[in-house]
Each structure stands twice: as structure tokens, then as C-alpha cells.
Symmetry: C2
Subunit: 269 residues, 2 copies
């Protein structure tokens, strides 16, 4: 089972769906072999990123997540490295068939994931890089189906993931400090981190109605956003501004995840 959990399959499945959403936004369901292949490439690239991440985190995870496949010894490190290499190669090989822009995007993300695990993660740029990478799955779908509206899920994804990553870094302050990682909350302090997160979510609130105002998405999008996404996001903003304690933070992080899901549903309606 270790070789399955190490790729974080749910994570990869969400990436697959995100690629489809990047193509579906404004157009409705498109179901071409190109798009499904792109989704599968997204799945494989995500698996690659998760494996590389775990490979570089073995020592930290021995303390933070001793149950993960690598630190617990459930999987063989050499096989895991081969698996990462295999995913790297086939995602590049497969992407070639989808044309130069897709190939370059996939290659770029693969390299970025590698650099992220190796270097960025330990810097304050880490949150930014991972939030960008996460959103690029929408861009992949958009490129494949020539759908420029994919910029919206990309932006929404960025402005949800960035504050989420910062909140998660607040939770991890202790572990990160002992590992010598300088995260944003360690550099600027909890309070300023909460303010930045709230600000980013505030920008998201301004961006959310744009596709409706620009007549790119229908009224049902706006209704779902108003009923499901806005209340959660605004609640999170208010809680953040009140300097919440640790037990609340995990809950806020989850609320953002749910509001992202609501936004995705709204966009493909």
C-alpha cells in the first residue's frame, strides 16, 4: 500500500479533475482524448511532485509524519526514486504528443516541483511556488482546449492556496523552526501572516464575481458562489483577523478547501 499512498492518489485525482475544469469553464463538458490525456499527465506530474517531496522530507518526516511510507520504511527508497524517474519520463513523453506549449508547461512544472522540494520549500517563496503550481493544472486544461477562461480558476486557486499554505505554515511553526526552515510566519510572525492571508482572501472576494460581470459565466455560477463560497471565505477572513489559536487553524484551512470545491462546481455549471 505504501507505493500507492506515497503518490497521494486523492491529490492526483483532484489534479486530474482540475485539468478538465480548466477546459470546461465557460464551455461546458468537453470530452476529447487530448483532454483526458492531459488530465492523466496532470495526475502523473502530481504523483511525481508528491514523491519527490517525500523523498526530500524523509528526515523531517521521521519527526513530523513518522507514518508516511518512506520514514516508516514501508517502501524501498531506491524503488521510489525509480518510480519518480519513471513518472518524470512518461509525463514528458506523453506531453510531447499534445504540442509544444503543453510540453513546455509540463517540463516547467516538473522542474519547478523538483526545485520546490529541493530548495524553495525552505524559503518564504515556497508558499508562492506551490500555489502557482497547483493552479497550473487549470492552465494545462485551458491550453489543450484553447480556452483562455482557464485564467479564472487559476487565479481563484492561487488566492485560496496561498493563504491556506500560510495558515498551514503557522501550524507547522514549531517543526519548521527545529528543521531550520524560514517560513513566512517564522519571518513575519503569526499576526502579520494572518493579515496577509486575510488580504489575499479579500482580493479573492473581489475577483470572484469578475467572470459573471464580464458575462463569461452564467448566473448559476454567481448564485453558487454567493451561497456557498462567499460565506465560508468571509468567515475565514474574520476569524483570521481575530488572531485564532492553533485548533481553529486546521478548521479554517479545511473551510478554504471546501470553498475551493464549491467554486469548482460553480464554474462548470
Amino acid at each position: 500500500m505504501g507505493y500507492v499512498t506515497i503518490i497521494r492518489p486523492l491529490n492526483c485525482a483532484i489534479t486530474f479533475v482540475s485539468v478538465l475544469v480548466g477546459a470546461w469553464i465557460t464551455t461546458g463538458f468537453i470530452y476529447t482524448p487530448q483532454l483526458i490525456l492531459a488530465g492523466m499527465i496532470g495526475f502523473i506530474v502530481c504523483a511525481f511532485g508528491n514523491i519527490v517531496n517525500d523523498l526530500y522530507d524523509i528526515e523531517i518526516d521521521k519527526i513530523n509524519n513518522p507514518d508516511r511510507p518512506l520514514p516508516s520504511g514501508k517502501v524501498n527508497k531506491k524503488i521510489v526514486i525509480s518510480l519518480a524517474l519513471f513518472f518524470f519520463i512518461i509525463s514528458i513523453l506523453f506531453s510531447i504528443s499534445l504540442g509544444l506549449p503543453v510540453f513546455l508547461l509540463v517540463l516547467g512544472v516538473l522542474i519547478l516541483l523538483f526545485i520546490y522540494a529541493l530548495y524553495f520549500k525552505k524559503t518564504i517563496a515556497g508558499n508562492f511556488v506551490v500555489s502557482i503550481i497547483t493552479g497550473l493544472s487549470f492552465i494545462l486544461g485551458g491550453i489543450v482546449e484553447n480556452n483562455s477562461a482557464c485564467i479564472f480558476p487559476f487565479l481563484f486557486s492561487f488566492f485560496i492556496h496561498m493563504p491556506r499554505e500560510i495558515i498551514k505554515d503557522v501550524i507547522d511553526i514549531k517543526g519548521d523552526k527545529s528543521a531550520g526552515i524560514i517560513s513566512l510566519p517564522i519571518l513575519l510572525g503569526k499576526e502579520r501572516s494572518f493579515n496577509i492571508s486575510a488580504l489575499l482572501l479579500g482580493i479573492l472576494c473581489i475577483l470572484l464575481p469578475l467572470p459573471y460581470i464580464m458575462k463569461i459565466l452564467h448566473l448559476q455560477y454567481m448564485i453558487v458562489v454567493l451561497i456557498f463560497a462567499y460565506p465560508m471565505i468571509i468567515y475565514v477572513i474574520f476569524r483570521l483577523l481575530k488572531k485564532p489559536q492553533e485548533p481553529v487553524l486546521a478548521k479554517l484551512s479545511n473551510l478554504l478547501k471546501i470553498s475551493m470545491a464549491a467554486g469548482l462546481v460553480a464554474m462548470i455549471l
Copy 2:
């Protein structure tokens, strides 16, 4: 690792390549998203077939192959069943995007694999069914790229796998008898099974030059077949007619596998 070995990844990878070869024969390298997606569907369908097979063989494998993931208890049966169901569903969903003929072929093979594990395997039709299914990966590639020449790898595959399966059944006579399976060698005896295998390989020898004679494939195909495939196949035919003993049989089965590989290389040259 059990969840990886249970799908028999090498087997699945060969199916992936077979799909490509079904499109590449006579045309050279084609590398479209459709074809790669079809290859991946072939991979997943093969994984499904291998899992279903292992699920129905748990009791027999406790005796014959106690190290396999299921009888050894390395994997959870319920998770394995969910995995099979998952592969079943996504291979159907993905195949829809490739059009009705591909969808019907994939659906048909999935059902056939299921019936094979459940019923055919225990009958003398088992060898026939599995040899047909194995060859259908070439047909899948041919359909996707509209390449009717895929009929040749399909035929060659059938006339190599059928005798191979019969030879493997001769090796398994003891285990099959105790499991109540009536295989071809059990029904007709070893000698007649060897003769039938030799006959099928004889037909293969007649079929092999056809694509060259019909000017569908170039001279390099014929040269590779003459140098690599023919000597091995003819050697196997002669050994079979001499009623070989068990230790030789596994070797003959492997020789057929290698000659199949040589044939594949010849066809895409």
C-alpha cells in the same frame, strides 16, 4: 508493493506498447494523444484483467503461487476489488472519448476478461479466449489510427499465444487436475497437445511472410523475421514433435515469447 505487483506492471506495459504497434505497423511512428490514451486504456484494461484473474484464483494460488499478493495476504481483498472496479469504470469512461468502436471494443474485452476469469479459464476454450484478448490490443491501436494492417500483429499474436498457453497448460496439468479444471492437455493428452501447438506454429510460419509478399511491409521486416523469429519458431516446432519433458517446456514457452518480441520489432522497423 503488493498493490503494484498484483496488476503485473510489465504485462500492462507490453499491452501499452502493443497498442502503439497496432497503429505503427506499416506507417512508422505515429504519436497522437488519441493513440497514447488508447495505450493507457490498454494498460488499465490489462491491469483489470490481471486483478480479476488473481481474485478468482486465490484458492488455487494458495497451492500453486502462495507468494502472489492475494494468497500471501500482502494486500487487502476488499481494496483489490475496489481497484478492479475503479479500473473497469475509468477504462470505460476514457474509451468513450475515442469513439463508439473503441468504446465497444474496450467494453467487450472487459466483459470477456471477467467471464474468462470466472468461467472460461476452467474450460478448453480458455486458451483460445486469452489468446484472442491478448491480440486485441493491436486491434485497439489499429482502430484508433484507422490502420487495417493491425490485423497482422493480431494474427501473429494469436498463433504464438495459443501454442504458448497450451504448453503452459501441459506444465500445469497436475495443479489443474486437482482443481478440477479440464484443460486441453488434460482432455486430449500431452502428445496431441504438442501436435496441435506445432500445427498452430506451422500456420504462423506460413502467415509470417504475408505482409512482405503483399508489399505491406518492407524487406527489413522479412530479414528480421528470417534471422530471429523463424529459427526459434522452427526449433520449438521440432522440439514439440519430439514430445519434450517438463523442464524443456518452460524454455520453449520463453522462446516463443522472445520470437514474439522479435516479430514486434520487425513490424515497426
